[in-house]
């Protein structure tokens, strides 16, 4: 019975000019988006690989020089792009592409793509996520807004009810009639994406299960919209009213709430400005150890401690170069300061994130948005992870350089030059993104909200349909 209704609904949907035109349009756009996404991914990846190789070459081909000079010369860590980014570009455009790793400072990632583009890019790009997150829900609305109101207006609902069809079966049939065509469209795109990803040269970093999870996220997202569409269509007396309500809901969910929450997050938990942040860091630095300033109070204290520890009365008698040691201790201290301030930044970020999670109660778009970019490794959290790992590598690198200086030279010998072999001994930065298990664990909240949306809207739909009157 349900299947009968569903197949009749689907027949109607498929014969409807609207659906054919709009879904063909969506399909074409998706194809364009997926293929140009793949091109973009390969292009960017090649650039990054090339840049990383050249940068490594720059690093290892340094002349013999003081290790601390090398530390100041530093190196760049380039943020890799992951294959699934061809589906969702997430916030990649708004995060920097490389981090400069140098002595004394933890730098922010620099060169965000959006800064090099004109304001036109703020309208969004034609990427699959744009179509999947914004347009397909709209397609569901356009196809289904009059699914039940139409029957009311034509009087066929009266006829159906006189035949003793349970409203629930009717609703389920209609639900399938709306959902299945959209799901089929989605499945086709994901199959295509899977095929494309499978043929990428660096297939190793792509996981089929992640793609499947992403697929189910979108299915869930569309199921929520199908529920909402039918609830409104069952409630409204006229098609036009159903349409206006659903369109407003779409605007609120997909455009309004994300922006409203952004403004709210900005007011409640503002990020410090770049200047404020650096001032706070410098303030803390002033109070503490400065590797370049042996007259600093903290440096004097450290000197006394080290002398006492080794039982000597002069830094000249230490078994290592105190300058290098001091430099390393200073670096560690500065790293702690940066760690503290970045942790603070992260706290703000987490508060903002939880605000977005709360706002998800009013917008199923938000959890889907966050889940999608998290699974494609293009969310802010992935960026944080990269930034943290780069910082770890920077400290490791600084340690190796400073300790080479401390161990192989004598106090006051600033003309010491280390062997160029040292540069190659410091292994290149090898970044591994967080595992999917941890991504999922981190996004459990978003998953819950989305499932919650599905269940609640499902219950409301059943309730609404039971009360369906002519």
């Amino acid at each position: 019975m349900v299947l009968k209704i569903a197949s009749k609904e689907m027949k109607e949907v498929l014969r409807d000019g609207r659906f054919r035109v709009l879904s063909a349009l969506c399909l074409v756009l998706l194809l364009v988006a997926v293929f140009s996404g793949k091109r973009y991914y390969e292009h960017v990846n090649a650039q990054h690989r090339d840049a990383a190789e050249k940068e490594r070459l720059n690093w290892v081909s340094q002349d013999a020089k003081n290790p601390h000079s090398a530390a100041h010369y530093g190196t760049h860590a380039f943020k890799p792009k992951y294959p699934m980014s061809l589906i969702d570009q997430g916030v990649d455009k708004y995060t920097g592409v490389s981090i400069y790793l140098e002595a004394h400072v933890r730098n922010e990632a620099q060169f965000m793509a959006a800064q090099d583009q004109t304001a036109l890019s703020r309208f969004g790009d034609l990427t699959p996520d744009f179509i999947l997150l914004f347009l397909l829900p709209l397609l569901i609305i356009l196809v289904g807004f009059n699914a039940i109101t139409r029957e009311k207006e034509n009087g066929t609902l009266r006829l159906l009810q006189s035949m003793g069809i349970s409203p629930l079966n009717l609703a389920l049939g209609k639900w399938l009639g709306i959902f299945i065509p959209v799901a089929a469209l989605l499945a086709f795109i994901f199959l295509l994406a899977a095929w494309l990803l499978n043929n990428l040269s660096d297939f190793g970093t792509f996981s089929l299960s992640a793609l499947l999870i992403l697929f189910s996220v979108y299915l869930l997202y569309y199921a929520v919209f199908s529920n909402l569409v039918l609830i409104v269509s069952a409630w409204a007396k006229k098609s036009s009213i159903a349409f206006v309500i659903l369109l407003s809901a779409w605007i609120v969910a997909c455009l309004g709430m994300p922006k409203l929450t952004t403004n709210l997050a900005n007011t409640l938990y503002p990020y410090p400005t770049q200047q404020e942040f650096m001032e706070a860091v410098n303030e803390d630095k002033k109070k503490g150890l400065d590797g370049h300033d042996p007259w600093n109070d903290a440096a004097k204290k450290l000197e006394q401690e080290v002398l006492a520890e080794h039982g000597v009365d002069s830094v000249h008698k230490l078994p290592f170069n105190f300058d290098g040691y001091l430099m390393q201790k200073g670096e560690e201290h500065e790293a702690e300061i940066f760690f503290k301030h970045y942790e603070h930044l992260k706290e703000i970020y987490e508060k903002q994130s939880s605000l977005y999670k709360n706002a998800a109660i009013l917008s199923p778009f938000l959890p889907a948005r966050f889940l999608s970019m998290a699974l494609c490794r293009t969310d802010y959290h992935s960026h944080w992870h990269f930034s943290d790992e780069a910082e770890k590598y920077r400290l490791h690198m600084m340690n190796a350089l400073n300790m080479d200086f401390a161990d192989n030279s004598t106090y006051g010998d600033w003309s010491y030059k280390s062997n160029p072999e040292l540069w190659a001994k410091i292994e290149p930065f090898d970044y591994n993104p967080p595992t999917y298990a941890s991504v999922l664990a981190f996004n459990a909240g978003n998953f819950t909200v989305l499932i919650f949306w599905f269940l609640i809207s499902g219950v409301v739909l059943v309730y609404r349909c039971k009360k369906l009157k002519v």
Binding site: T118, D125, F130, V244, K259, T262
Partner: protein, 480 residues
Amino acid sequence: MANRQQFKYEWLGLLRDRWVLILSLLLLLVCIYAAYNGKEKVAERNQPIAKAMDEMKASDEQYKALIDSVAQGLKTNLPAWQNPQRLNVIGQRAARVAAFESQPLALVSTGQSDLFTHLVKPRLYGEALTLGFSELSNPVQLLFGNFDLAFVCIYLLPLLILAFSYNVLSAEKESGALRLTLAQPIQVTQWLLNKLLLRFVVLAVIVVIAFNVSLMTTGLNVVSEFSPVMKITLALLAYMLFWFGLSFWVNLRGQSSGSNAVVLVSLWVLIVLLIPAMISQLANNLYPVPSRVGMISELRYAEAEAQKNANQILESYYRDHPELAPTDTSAQKLYPFWLSYFASQDEIRKAVNPILSEYESQLHKQQQTVDQLRFLSPAVLLQNIFNESAGTSSRHYNSYRQQVVVFAGEWKNYFLPRMFRNELMKKEWMDELPHFSFDANKIEKQYTADVLALLLYGFAGFVLSFLLYRNYVTEKVLLT
């Protein structure tokens, strides 16, 4: 006369329709909220600048006093390397605030302002071209964008227009009143045009009031900013006209209200969401932004090479700048370390600058080409007008960056010759240090072209509809 009566009764009809009132109030509230958001954003931008300016003034006074006391031979508790008589100390530590303060109408559009910092301090030792202009921000916020007046006008206003006009003809057809109307000696196109014209005027008044009232609630003096406010208003009217024109065409097709609504919303999606995204995608594919990471590796290589020859640099530096070479070699040198530092910096700059300026010019070319694509969509045109009026366009930030680079050069040029002359900082020099002020006049104005294009779009819908339905067949309208 017939027209006047028609306007009168259309107006009465609108007046008695409570939806018009509800939608108008809603629009007003949304505008006020958006303007409030804009104001918050502007405050967020200006507060740190004001603070930095105050701090700079205070520290200037401090330095003056310190220079005075050191000159008089009094003891200060500053370490030797922070001696304020040293020009390099002032050049580095008393850096000027190069701020990009908000323009009066900044609150109407966040534009690109959330991507960039509005305050940098170019210092003597730093390299202006590598100054960071990024602002610390949560990229999710950048992705979602702000709820500002530009958003309300570009995205939401068209929907309001569509809600006002989608069923002007079809509702009468569906109620049956159209048959009687068409039995009168009138032109359907003219009659529909009158109806839409009245709605346009009513909505225009509502929008202009809502827009201006929301600006006034933020404390903006609309009268003193009359000209830029008028400019935006004119653009808004042209944009509204465009949407009415579209609605005119869809109405004339004579379909049902439901079908009109679906067609118009699809057109909205196409024009406001899809076309801009497609243009953006097209731009990225046809004219890709030159690679930043490629630039980094080139830069790093040049830097490393330049540093290798850093030893003989000062000598060659004097060769290039004989005017700076000390005439009396026996004079006591005040800045030996710094002079060689600047010399080597200069060497590095020479190696690096061609790469940077090559990159910048490529980027500039790319942005200019992409800029032309804005004519493909009225929504992009309006966004450009908003950003230009608000002073938050890409062009403003590019210009700010360039002006800072120029200023950083001035700053260095103030100190370097004095340092080469072995001079010490004087108290009165503190007042004559170069200072930065942002010059908005250096930015290319695109308003006229944009608004003309928008007007063209505005009238195109009507003109095309008239051409298309010159011989209006009522058969289609009444029997479909």
